[in-house]
């Protein structure tokens, strides 16, 4: 579907919903084409290729609200879909807080090219895709004789969306993404078969790292785990490498959402303007980074995307406030989700952070675990390397890190200079002092 076709269909569906009895309506039409190639142990393993469509419709009718989606976007089917959706909505209880956003929040949208469409996408051939995956796999497999099995992946995607609201919002956006990765499993004597992976996603094909680099790194990460075992429980320092830090940051996201504040389910309730973390922690939501994986001009509700500081030198500056829960709380909406999350970066590399550790764990992966939004208590499995006096001593696993999120982020002493660019959350490596690890 072309950009204009999606926009026209969205407009048609909005007016059909109004005609069928909705007071307000919002429609998103999207489509994507996804191609994935994988190679395992020297042989082509999977080729997948498909195109998909989706239409989602949000209805506000007689102060009532519901939302529906379908992948059957033919008009003759959609007519029935829309009338049923509206008929059903009338059975719900009225909710005065449900309306489309005030159009004033649509204003001020930037007119810039976010640089998220790679025009080279159309030139990528099947042969190239297979060759990339083959190169990745070969690099991973030939890195060591201890490799048991390697699988590599190359995938690319082109997608587009159109969004129309009955009170004046219109938006279209397209994007491309390219991913390359490998997973490697190695032999650890009779003990086990440790594995690790590398998975890099970018907007432009030319920004993918070399296949050799990715493949070798996957195997090297697995090799580094040979001999891993748990060590004694105790208080350790911790450095978390950038890619793994998403787990800890993700636990902070949900308590910042207006929904959890309104539902009295957040340990950050009442903490706006207060210091909740070490002054080393500054988190900024920046929607306008050129080529960013989370870049956007408007958010999922149509609100104009703006740069905002979430945490400034440890002080909580902003919650994530969507229109509905904002209204319930009497707070101005500022966007209920994040776009690109960036940090105030430090000046040490991961190696330099590790070099100053006295006795701690360099975390290279978290496993399982969870957190309690209401109390901030968390507990999570850890995989990493024991560090003593700045030197890596041995690999560790089967350990748990437990504590409270406020305490954790106050223990942050240093932030790395190494944003992880393969994600919309461009987190650096983090260095914490004195945390509780459970092992033997």
């Amino acid at each position: 579907m072309k950009k204009n076709d999606k926009l026209q269909l969205a407009k048609w569906a909005v007016s059909a919903a109004i005609k069928a009895g909705a007071d307000q309506a919002a429609v998103d039409v999207s489509n994507s084409r996804d191609i994935e190639t994988s190679v395992r142990d020297g042989q082509l393993d999977q080729l997948k290729e498909s195109t998909q469509n989706s239409l989602s419709l949000t209805i506000y009718a007689a102060n009532r609200y519901s939302s529906h989606s379908t992948n059957d976007i033919r008009k003759e089917s959609l007519g029935k879909f829309i009338s049923e959706a509206i008929a059903m909505t009338k059975y719900l209880t009225e909710d005065e807080f449900r309306t489309l956003p005030d159009p004033k929040y649509y204003e001020g949208r930037k007119d810039i090219d976010l640089g998220i469409v790679d025009s080279a996408y159309v030139d990528v051939t099947s042969e190239q895709r297979v060759q990339l995956a083959r190169d990745l796999e070969e690099a991973a497999r030939t890195r060591s004789d201890l490799v048991i099995s390697c699988t590599s992946y190359y995938s690319d995607s082109t997608y587009g969306t159109a969004k129309v609201h009955s009170n004046g919002f219109e938006g279209v956006r397209d994007g491309t993404s390219f991913s390359a990765g490998a997973e490697s499993t190695v032999k650890d004597g009779d003990k086990g078969r440790p594995s690790d992976w590398v998975w890099n996603t970018v907007r432009f094909l030319k920004d993918l790292p070399g296949s050799t680099e990715i493949g070798r790194e996957a195997t090297e990460r697995a090799l580094r785990k040979i001999g891993q075992e748990k060590i004694e429980s105790g208080v350790y320092e911790m450095v978390v490498e950038n890619r793994s830090a998403s787990k800890l940051l993700g636990m902070m996201n949900s308590p910042m959402r207006a929904r959890n504040l309104q539902q009295k389910n957040s340990f950050l309730d009442g903490k706006l303007g207060e210091k909740i973390a070490s002054e080393k922690l500054t988190i900024i939501d920046d929607p306008h980074i050129i080529g960013g994986l989370g870049s956007r001009l408007y958010d999922g509700e149509g609100l104009t995307a703006r740069k905002r500081t979430l945490i400034d030198k440890g002080v909580l500056k902003s919650y994530l406030i969507d229109c509905y829960y904002g209204k319930k709380l009497g707070l101005e909406p500022n966007g209920g989700s994040t776009s690109n999350v960036v940090f105030e970066y430090g000046n040490k590399s991961l190696d330099e952070l590790v070099a100053v550790m006295t006795r701690g764990i360099l975390v290279t992966g978290f496993i399982g675990g969870n957190s309690n939004d209401l109390t901030g208590d968390f507990s999570v499995g850890v995989i990493g390397l024991l560090v003593e006096d700045g030197k890596i001593i041995k690999p560790v696993n089967e350990m748990n890190l437990s504590g409270n999120l406020t305490e954790l982020w106050n223990q942050l002493v240093e932030v790395g200079n190494d944003p992880y660019i393969y994600s919309s959350t461009r987190r650096p490596s983090f260095y914490f002092k004195d945390l509780s690890f459970s092992g033997i």
């Binding site: 989606s69 049923e84 440790p194 594995s195 208080v235 009295k264 496993i367 399982g368 999570v380 696993n397």
Partner: protein, 514 residues
């Protein structure tokens, strides 16, 4: 599929939605153009009508799929309708739904896979997808089967009324009732949030080795979250159910239990303490603790990981992995259980598969590719999230059979440990074997007695080690009745698990360190 459901399904195919008076959520026949075809000649014919295909068209699509010499292909049609309604701040004031429809086409050459799907079930779109999937192969062409034989399916999830015939007006009162019960059950309750989901998935599949099968797979989930306040302190917990069943599942007893249990789990947290971390004895409560089996052994026994040699259980079939009173099964046949399936997504019959029998490792969980690789019969574990996904070996309902001990003697045997009661999630590294599960609520055990409640602790162990450290198994097997999903390779799948009360002699509990 029950007779009732079959009739409703036929009616739905033939007449579509227009004649129904209550608003039924999207019982729409997505093939409006074909909806007028007669639904005669039995159930398979109903499915052909519904998807607008017949045996001849399927054969033609397969002919394209095998044009480049693939040695196997299958087609998988699916129409799925999901509805959610939610209560928050005392009102049922939100509803969501999703309709999904399409066909996936897979071509295999050896264990290499070509895959494509289309959301348009037209001969042209299907042949295009078949051509794309065929690209995996590069031999001279193979022929499609001349005859398809229907796989006879049992009915492990009979339901009285298909979900498409249950209007939203019939669902809303259940949520309001539960909300009233939650607030009546505890003065400390300040918030209650209730979600109700139903799912109807219609699937029709055919394979190039001549099998054809169909299934109607209902599912429903009710989830009740409660926030309570006491002396300025808040706590939150939840409870839910998630069977493959119809609305008749929610009897007054079940409704009462949903409310009471959600409140009980919440208010108990006011007394909860954080345990000291480290290795200790752990007693797993009967029921939901079956998540231990799912993570510690279940995934490692999925045969894709073993044929690739990357599971810690690779090469261990026939070996002793646990005490002789430990028997673990993965069972598709339990009535109305969330993980049950009448037929898997590769048209193979399902069964109760023994992973461990009397302490000996017996069988992996197979899909088509792995059963060919190992030269064994398929076990009916080839499952997929939807027509967009390739089938892979997945668990169904994974549980341990009862053992020789009683719950009382198990608890009495513990000097210092944890009794784990409810869980939220878990994860495993297949090759290294380290796995976790997150304990939402439990109790300390001190000198043979359960004492203070504990909460929010992650437990981490090594699969084979923990299996061999299961030193006591109770006689009180219970199935987990909640609404669980399992994620693997980016695919979500309905599963459940079960366990009798069990003791593991040593495992690492996350907690405070001094």
């Amino acid at each position: 599929m029950s007779d009732m459901t079959r009739r409703d399904f036929a009616k739905m195919s033939a007449k579509g939605m227009a004649l129904i008076s209550v608003p039924l959520l999207f019982k729409a026949d997505p093939l409006a153009a074909l909806a007028g075809l007669p639904a005669e000649g039995g159930k398979l014919a109903d499915y052909y009508t519904h998807f607008g295909v017949d045996e001849d068209l399927i054969r033609k699509v397969m002919a394209v799929a095998l044009e480049r010499g693939g040695d196997y292909c299958d087609v998988y049609f699916q129409h799925q309708i999901n509805n959610w309604i939610g209560l928050e701040d005392n009102d049922v004031n939100r509803a969501y739904s999703n309709v999904d429809f399409g066909v996936g086409i897979r071509v295999l050459e050896g264990d290499q896979t070509g895959y494509s799907f289309t959301e348009e079930i037209t001969p042209e779109a299907m042949k295009m997808a078949a051509k794309t999937a065929a690209n995996i192969a590069s031999q001279s062409k193979n022929a499609p089967p001349t005859k398809y034989n229907q796989v006879k399916c049992p009915d492990y999830y009979p339901i009285k009324t298909a979900w498409e015939d249950v209007g939203i007006d019939q669902k809303i009162p259940y949520l309001q009732r539960i909300n009233d019960l939650v607030f009546a059950a505890g003065k400390r309750v300040i918030k209650s949030k209730i979600w109700f989901e139903d799912e109807s998935s219609y699937v029709l599949m055919a394979t190039s080795d001549g099998k054809i099968a169909y299934d109607y797979r209902p599912m429903t989930t009710a989830s009740v979250s409660v926030t309570a306040e006491q002396d300025g302190k808040r706590e939150k917990s939840w409870y839910g159910r998630g069977p493959r069943a119809g609305i008749e599942y929610f009897t007054p007893d079940v409704v009462n239990y949903l409310a009471d249990e959600a409140v009980r789990r919440t208010v108990e947290l006011f007394d909860a303490v954080k345990p000291e971390g480290g290795e200790m004895e752990v007693v797993l409560a009967a029921g939901n603790s079956g998540i231990l089996l799912h993570e510690a052994i279940g995934h490692g026994m999925e045969a894709d990981f073993n044929r690739k040699g990357i599971s810690i259980f690779a090469d261990k079939i026939g070996k002793s992995v646990a005490k002789d009173f430990v028997t673990i099964v993965d069972d598709a046949t339990l009535p109305n259980m969330r993980g049950s399936i009448n037929v898997d997504d590769e048209a193979n019959a399902t069964e109760k598969t023994y992973l461990v029998k009397d302490g000996i490792l017996k069988s992996y969980l197979h899909d088509h590719i792995s059963s060919k690789h190992y030269g064994v019969n398929p076990t009916g574990n080839g499952r997929r999230q939807s027509f967009r996904h390739v089938p892979i070996p997945r668990m169904r309902n994974t549980y341990m059979l009862p053992g020789p001990h009683t719950k009382e003697e198990i608890i009495k045997s513990v000097k210092k440990g944890i009794y784990t009661e409810s869980f939220t999630n878990g994860q495993v590294n297949i090759g290294a074997g380290d796995f976790t599960f997150y304990v939402q609520t439990g109790y300390m055990i001190e000198d043979g007695k359960m004492t203070a409640p504990v909460k929010d602790i992650n437990i981490i162990g090594n699969g084979p080690k923990v299996l061999s450290d299961i030193v006591m198994v109770g006689d009180d097997l219970k199935q987990f009745l909640g609404g669980g999903y399992c994620g693997k390779d980016g695919q979500r799948c309905l599963v459940s698990d079960g366990l009798p009360t069990c003791k593991v002699s040593s495992i690492t509990v996350g907690g405070v360190s001094s």
